[in-house]
Symmetry: C2
């Protein structure tokens, strides 16, 4: 075959094909900060799943602000991406509609979502995770449980906060004033807010950190104050970092598959791009990893 022989070297132009067919086989991926371990893992998962289905991924950082998010979406839409994977920093429904709704590009949200918008979403099972953490602290006899809540801009922050209130209520526990610390998702914020908590008149006996970064910051503050954990204070974390077993004390945490968040979201998106609109929401399971920071013994 002459064709076969040529095929070896001939590469059809993706650009011309896209111009003609109005399909780019490219998906836009937008997160607040790719360097964060969670988003990096989700990106890897999504990239893998998309590549298997023949899609390429174009990456944008929204830089933790709505303006950046809108710009990113616009750039991506200009590039005529076939779909969007988005962990929002808090775009409004109207802003979202006027940006991507007009063009009708399928969008799957993950981790932090705009309720009811787009072609669906994938979330971590935040409620269950917080329940696991609070229940376990209660099993250890704690009643004075505080929360390093992280930011309420993202749904994951809000869901974890809500679940905390519900769990406390379920156990008949009251949430004292100042016991909930809303802050940025950083180690430094975790340190500062833990110091605030420990400076309280009736300080808590246990702290739930809404992320690994916050937990690490919390441990730093404890170490600075010379606290002995878990005796003086129990600490548990939503997120099980890979070095969790080697911290001092080793960290009791809720673990989940961050890569799966990305790959499942990608599957949903591929489906939406192919079949059309079948809005679906999925949730990634979590499980409790017991270590020493809660008062358990190491396995």
């Amino acid at each position: 075959m002459l064709e076969a022989a040529e095929a070896l070297k001939f590469q059809p132009s993706v650009l011309a094909r896209s111009l003609r067919t109005r399909t780019t086989f490219t998906v836009g991926f937008v997160v607040p900060d790719v360097a964060s371990p969670f988003y990096a893992a989700a990106l890897k998962g999504a990239q893998g799943a998309l590549e298997e289905s023949g899609y390429r991924v174009m990456l944008m950082n929204s830089g933790q602000e709505v303006a950046g998010e809108v710009t990113a979406l616009q750039t991506l839409l200009n590039h005529q991406v076939d779909g969007l994977l988005l962990s929002t920093t808090g775009i409004s429904a109207s802003r979202f509609d006027e940006t991507v709704g007009r063009r009708g590009t399928p969008c799957v949200f993950f981790d932090s979502m705009l309720e009811g918008a787009g072609a669906g979403g994938v979330r971590i099972d935040n409620a269950r995770g917080i329940d696991l953490l609070v229940d376990h602290l209660v099993e250890h006899g704690h009643t004075e449980i505080a929360l390093l809540a992280g930011s309420l801009e993202e749904t994951s922050g809000r869901e974890r906060l809500d679940a905390y209130h519900l769990a406390m209520e379920r156990h008949g526990l009251t949430v004292g004033p100042d016991r909930v610390r809303v802050c940025r998702w950083s180690q430094e914020a975790g340190r500062a807010e833990t110091n605030a908590l420990l400076g309280l008149a009736n300080r808590p006996t246990a702290i739930v950190a809404s992320s690994a970064e916050l937990a690490v910051g919390c441990l730093a503050a404890c170490r600075e104050r010379g606290l002995h954990l878990p005796g003086d204070l129990a600490v548990v974390s939503f997120d099980d970092p890979y070095f969790g077993a080697l911290l001092e004390p080793s960290l009791t945490a809720v673990a989940y598959d961050a890569g799966a968040v990305g790959s499942v979201a990608a599957s949903l998106l591929v489906e939406a791009m192919r079949e059309g609109h079948t809005r679906r929401e999925l949730s990634i399971p979590v499980n409790l990893v017991r270590r020493r920071s809660c008062g358990c013994e190491d396995a």
Copy 2:
């Protein structure tokens, strides 16, 4: 102006423009594993710098193997990217030339590079980093110093290994057999190789880990064996992870700006895409962070 009024809503088609001008303002970014903290940080740095210059980034995972790397490059070239940012897993010069050389797309390597190829490269100052680590251990009186070398597929692994031999020689120290452990860049490999090291007839009194993952694995092995650090064994690491201060003992390490590796590489690439071929190599500085795992006291 009618034009101005329309301009608000009208978005020229990037695709048609690209087809016509043969310029996509898109850059391909290829790494073995985006989920690894270093590559994620480099990606963020690169993305930021590229965006400022009007470029978009298309991401590909090579999955730690040459085949994946070639596929990734081909996909990217099909998309007519204007430039490439690549941390290679060991593609050969001939393979590289026949894949990207033909088309002449500028390529800047970073971290792990193909010597002499492409439009330049950015590396971490591996030699200086290892010198800092070995010198410091010698200051503490160590002479029996082993190396968790990581993989030799990447230039960073090879450079760190070479620097280790040179540094040992400079101090008149001999490197016993089995004192250098070549392995994958994973926590598990670090654990396994540390166990091998500790099982040796004359075990080392100090270990240099070529990456944070290896160091964490090393600490895990030590803990399992009930070793008291830094008394029984000193451990230092090339890479300063953000939780380094909270490990037990806190980790003495060589730190550097991973984001800068990406952004500097991106700048070099932008220059190459605009001006043409001015091959340049740059190196990112490192510094020693003294903590307790080497035998120092915490600050």
